[in-house]
């Protein structure tokens, strides 16, 4: 009798789970993992149906997040692993291990910076800087970290001596980052702004500027879903001012067409899959921000990753125009069609994560 019951329970469970997954409407995206889910349309266009059907089934499995939590619980609490999928929790911060150091990638970043400098900017003031990832601040010896000094050293040795290095490593701390995301918080950037100002010989300072602190809760950072552990959501911080509301933001779609917005924030992105996209309308290849009340003609061009999106609004007060170039989305060889380099200051501002994975830069 016991075995009969066991038999029918087993068949019921696997049937019910499969059936529920099959009849439940498909979600387009997973908010916890911040990515689009593999959909039926993808499956229809699939070249390898059996493999992709599994991908589809995994993405739409019933109680998917619950099961991912179970796995994370098992890894951390049963097997007592230090990390789960490379993520670990340190003082309530979810941190992704950046390891090992890819020296070749760092050298290639140096080469890329040199190539752009030689192609466009030999007559400009050019600077470069590296934003540390959260792993840098964990010094308890328990987790693997790259040799950040080595990374700096490779860049310093590889990058043309006319391009000046601005050290940001000591200008920011772990508390200045989101707990569930890899990005830093906008209200934690005073030190970074000061260091950049000092390095570029500009009067950059946000302490005393007329900013109002606004916030959005809940903000589920990139690691929130990836880690699949029970942790409180973050509060997204953004600083507002009249100037930032009145800046003109142009998102370039081609050589001669762009979409224009008023203000540096896209409030519609709050509560979306990635609320961090509020800053400068998310990840775009080329964006210009114009200061309507600029007191001078100074311009800045920033070659950047997503970290700069929350940093740049704090720089605009000192410039008439800032151009952001994301080389992950646009090839550096076509930049002269979009960007006027004349007399502009140029800043290469990349996170250590990009430096260690520079192959994604075009």
């Amino acid at each position: 009798m016991k075995n009969k019951v066991l038999t029918y329970i087993f068949i019921f469970i696997i049937t019910a789970a499969g059936l529920t997954a099959a009849v439940m409407p498909d979600m387009d995206v997973t908010f916890s993992e911040r990515r689009p889910l593999y959909g039926l349309e993808d499956l229809k266009a699939s070249g390898d149906f059996s493999k992709d059907f599994e991908k589809y089934s995994l993405d739409h499995f019933v109680l998917r997040d619950f099961f991912r939590h179970i796995k994370a619980f098992s890894e951390y609490s049963i097997f007592r692993k230090n990390d789960n999928n490379g993520l670990y929790e340190f003082n309530d911060f979810i941190i992704k291990m950046l390891y090992p150091l890819d020296e070749n990638s760092v050298e290639k970043l140096a080469d890329k910076i040199n190539a752009i400098y030689e192609m466009y900017a030999e007559d400009n003031r050019v600077f470069y800087s590296i934003i540390p990832d959260k792993n840098y601040f964990v010094d308890d010896g328990k987790y693997l970290t790259i040799d950040y000094e080595m990374m700096e050293s490779i860049l310093r040795n590889g990058i043309d001596s006319h391009i000046n290095y601005i050290n940001l490593f000591s200008s920011i701390g772990l508390g200045d980052y989101y707990k569930t995301d890899h990005h830093f918080r906008m209200d934690g950037l005073a030190g970074v702004i000061l260091a950049l100002g000092k390095g570029m010989d500009m009067d950059l300072n946000i302490n005393g500027a007329d900013y109002n602190l606004s916030s959005h809760f809940p903000f589920y950072g990139a690691y929130y879903g990836q880690s699949a552990i029970n942790i409180k959501a973050d509060t997204l911080i953004y600083l507002e001012s009249n100037l930032l509301k009145n800046c003109t933001v142009k998102i370039w779609e081609s050589f001669d067409s762009f979409t224009e917005f008023k203000g540096v924030y896209d409030y519609e992105k709050l509560g979306s899959v990635d609320s961090y996209d509020i800053f400068l309308y998310g990840t775009k290849p080329i964006v210009t921000i114009e200061n309507p009340v600029a007191e001078n003609d100074s311009e800045l061009i920033i070659f950047k990753d997503s970290f700069a999106n929350s940093l740049t609004p704090l720089l605009i007060e000192s410039y008439s125009k800032i151009t952001l170039v994301d080389l992950r989305l646009v090839n550096h060889t076509v930049l002269d069609h979009f960007v006027d380099f004349t007399d502009a200051d140029i800043l290469f501002l990349y996170s250590t994560m990009i430096a260690n994975n520079s192959a994604i830069l075009k």
């Binding site: 599994e54 991908k55 991912r68 098992s74 230090n82 390891y99 693997l144």
Partner: protein, 466 residues
């Protein structure tokens, strides 16, 4: 479709089980055959024809052997069956290996075929050969029902990664299509045990092994960790798969023979191979070793027979030189054991014997894992201090600490400790507790395994390439 996938566990399996349960007894083999063909075609739509071809060919050859029993024609039919099966295997699995080597040796410039290896071909060709050989030998009756023989050949629980089920072992079970709840319940527990071994242990060990291979900061410790993790991974991967196959077989009332019996507790390599991939060892013993004369010949011939069998065993595992070397490595050790080592091992303490077995097997899997001689040499040099690398690195230490419980669990799980403990508990006043604990443990393992599957999107079985 692999067993440890959502598509299999939550879509395919319930459909087949429901169809099997509601279908009248006499039609249940049709359900199994249809399900098995769908199972195979889902991943290999073209090669399903090969599977059907193999079934039909061996069905015809079986009939011919039976019809001409006692005459030369029966032998001709048997040889024809063997030639066809071996040719299928040779063409799809070994052709490119031959071409590459012929080109290397004679500079022929032949083009490789680049054929995709049909999943499970190494298993089902051996099964179909066992059928015709056993019919010829009179150890199995000829199957006059093509449906039943095809069900045997295509039976999805053992189709793609074994165990290699000989026809004679399940001949009578093909007629018993009833439902046994005892068998089914055992099948559930066995399937979940295998699933947990594969998903919770083997896959995690696999990640550790990959990390050790790909490190930029090699150390002696990391080389050893990689080698040990791989040796354990391959055990949990393959024995886990065999458990799932045996469990699934039981759900449909088939009793497949055991394929693993805690090989790492063996005290000699001879014993190890009686406990590891038992169905393959049995197959080679019955259909190659004994026909060659086995040990009933002169010593030289005997050892020659052993080396032939182990050359073939290695080659069966993969069309590459490292597999041949791996097979011959074991062949030579088995010869040494028969020559003098066995006597020595009988006198040494059990602990020393275990160390000898584990050390030898770990070394053998370094050969098994690395496809080129250069990689094999590099790994051995790394393990034995032949490289200018530190003994320990921060990375190796990190992963050792992080995976300590996994490794301990794997080492304990590779022994019959838990099984023996469970057996002893069943004889005590905790008997009631153990009978409740078994399904509860299975339920927890099933939830955990599902969590691991959902969290990963790539989950191939190591033995798929064979």
């Amino acid at each position: 479709m692999v067993f440890s996938s959502i598509s299999f566990i939550f879509y395919f399996l319930p459909l087949v089980l429901l169809a099997y349960f509601i279908t009248p007894k006499r039609f249940r083999n049709i359900v199994l055959l249809t399900g098995s063909i769908f199972f195979y075609a889902f991943g290999e739509p073209i090669y399903v024809l090969l599977l059907v071809f193999s079934s039909v060919i061996d069905y015809i050859h079986g009939l011919m052997i039976e019809k001409h029993r006692g005459t030369k024609k029966a032998k001709t039919a048997l040889i024809s069956s063997i030639i066809i099966n071996v040719s299928l295997l040779a063409f799809f699995k070994y052709a490119d290996f031959m071409i590459i080597n012929l080109n290397d040796w004679f500079d022929l410039g032949l083009k490789t075929l680049n054929l995709r290896l049909p999943i499970g071909i190494s298993f089902y060709t051996f099964q179909t050969m066992s059928y015709t050989i056993d019919v010829y030998r009179g150890k199995a009756s000829v199957q006059r029902n093509l449906l039943k023989l095809s069900t045997y050949v295509t039976l999805f629980p053992q189709l793609i990664a074994g165990p290699i089920v000989r026809y004679k072992d399940i001949e009578s079970q093909l007629d018993d299509t009833g439902i046994s709840y005892d068998n089914f319940a055992y099948g559930i527990k066995r399937f979940i045990t295998g699933l947990a071994k594969k998903v919770l242990i083997a896959n995690s060990l696999g990640q550790l092994s990959v990390l050790a291979s790909g490190t930029q900061a090699p150390s002696v410790l990391f080389y050893w960790m990689g080698a040990i993790a791989f040796a354990l991974q391959i055990y949990f991967d393959f024995s886990g798969y065999s458990d799932m196959a045996i469990g699934l077989g039981r759900m449909f009332n088939f009793k497949f023979l055991e394929n693993f019996n805690y090989p790492y507790v063996a005290k000699s390599i001879t014993e190890f191979w009686r406990r590891w991939h038992i169905s393959l060892g049995t197959w080679f013993r019955e259909y190659v070793y004994y026909p060659l004369g086995g040990n009933r010949t002169g010593k030289l011939r005997w050892f020659g027979n052993i080396l032939v069998v182990w050359f073939l065993t290695g080659f069966w595992h993969g069309a590459n030189w490292n597999f041949i070397i791996w097979g011959l490595f074991f062949g030579l050790i088995l010869v040494f054991e028969k020559l003098f080592l066995k006597k020595l091992l009988d006198k040494t303490p059990a602990a020393i014997n275990h160390i000898y077995v584990v050390f030898t097997v770990v070394i053998s899997f370094v050969i098994f894992k690395n496809e080129t001689l250069a990689d094999i040499a590099l790994n051995f040099r790394g393990m034995f201090g032949g490289l200018d690398i530190p003994f320990i690195s921060a990375e190796a230490l990190y992963y050792l600490k992080s995976n300590a419980i996994l490794l301990i669990a794997a080492v304990i799980g590779a022994t019959p400790l838990a099984k023996n403990l469970y057996g002893k508990l069943k004889e005590t006043k905790f008997r009631k507790f153990t009978s409740a604990a078994a399904p509860a443990t299975a339920a927890v393992l099933f939830i955990l395994a599902t969590g691991y599957i959902v969290d990963s999107s790539f989950n191939p079985f190591l033995y798929f390439r064979f």
